[in-house]
Symmetry: C2
């Protein structure tokens, strides 16, 4: 039975999973798009799967998991040896430690700020609300400082977790892409190593297919 | 040669690592406290170890890693079979998927908000600055909604990643403790299952020793 993904093609978090499936060469998955406008993600049936009422959710037989990054990690383990290798082997504990360092940094030094910026500039607009200038300014300031550091890091290593493409690059993709849609693309293109990373990563077939 | 931890006893992120070392029964580590007031964490020597200029950093022979959660994961692997078991075995890919789901949720549904609240209420005060009311209000609102969900979750499972104590509980410890110091302890104690979880977790010797 194929794995079932419940999400939305254009949602940032679903995109991480769709790109991972493509990188692993998994084509026979069941993709259920949800009607968020109708509140399907807050229905009792859906909240049973994810108590936070958010997409995506993956179901594989008796396993139901949420949180996009956890789903991507699971797919890497389930389809180990198939498609691209996106994580070090757990038996290599030092390589795993380095991977985990960069995976954690994506959440604390990138996602924490950019997801707030996206919420302020995009989601609130969809809800007919103005952005809160103080929140936007604080997050842009923090993110800019962190992207300066990432630009230095990417001058030393080709990808976000070292010299090989990995899940950490995929974790960065949706919101990096959205910076351009938010009119903040210069945060990427003004930094030469970050710009080169994005050109390299966004040329991959998996991103051409799923990154929107 | 013992592992070397550079950090600060009273820093939230260092605390995660110190508690993990205690849970693993590791007593022979070299703990280097840093003088943050003197800016040691922004020195060229330290930034070479962590380009973000933040503590803690762990050194083990030729391995240098930052990001507290990544360090805790590494210690669990290095000292596997010693002290408490804090993560499922990587060979159990379904149990690992569930662990990763809860580990990711700690960052996206707890840390993202509480670290901002702590910065606003505590760090800015140390810097002689007022908190920004809009940022504080937004984060308290989001965190409250998420803690309601955690209260439901902890009515179904004893710990943050299932029925066993794990690294995910340790990840929650420093900022849960700080809610009380920030005058926001009712966010924990008003929620019965969350309150019970905190009573259970904070009674462990590792927290009695290192949670401040």
């Amino acid at each position: 039975m194929p794995v079932r993904l419940t999400g939305l093609k254009h949602s940032t978090c679903s995109m991480r999973v769709l790109i991972t499936l493509e990188e692993k060469g998994v084509n026979d998955f069941d993709f259920q798009e949800i009607d968020m406008a109708a509140g399907e993600h807050k229905s009792p049936e859906f909240v049973e799967k994810n108590p936070f009422g958010q997409i995506p959710v993956l179901e594989d037989g008796d396993l139901t998991i949420f949180e996009s990054r956890a789903i991507c990690r699971y797919l890497e383990s389930k389809y180990k040896g198939q498609g691209a290798t996106l994580m070090p082997s757990p038996s290599d504990i030092k390589a795993t430690a380095v991977f985990e360092q960069w995976a954690s940094a994506e959440l604390t030094h990138f996602d924490a700020m950019i997801s707030s910026i996206y919420y302020q500039t995009t989601i609130r607009k969809l809800q007919g609300l103005e952005s809160v200038p103080e929140i936007l300014a604080e997050n842009i300031k923090s993110l800019s400082a962190n992207l300066d550091v990432y630009d230095t890091i990417l001058g030393r290593q080709k990808y976000m977790a070292g010299d090989e493409f990995s899940l950490v690059d995929i974790f960065f993709v949706p919101y990096t892409n959205r910076t351009f849609k938010m009119g903040l693309g210069n945060m990427v293109t003004d930094r030469p190593h970050l710009k080169m990373w994005w050109e390299t990563v966004s040329s991959r077939p998996s991103l051409k297919k799923w990154s929107t």
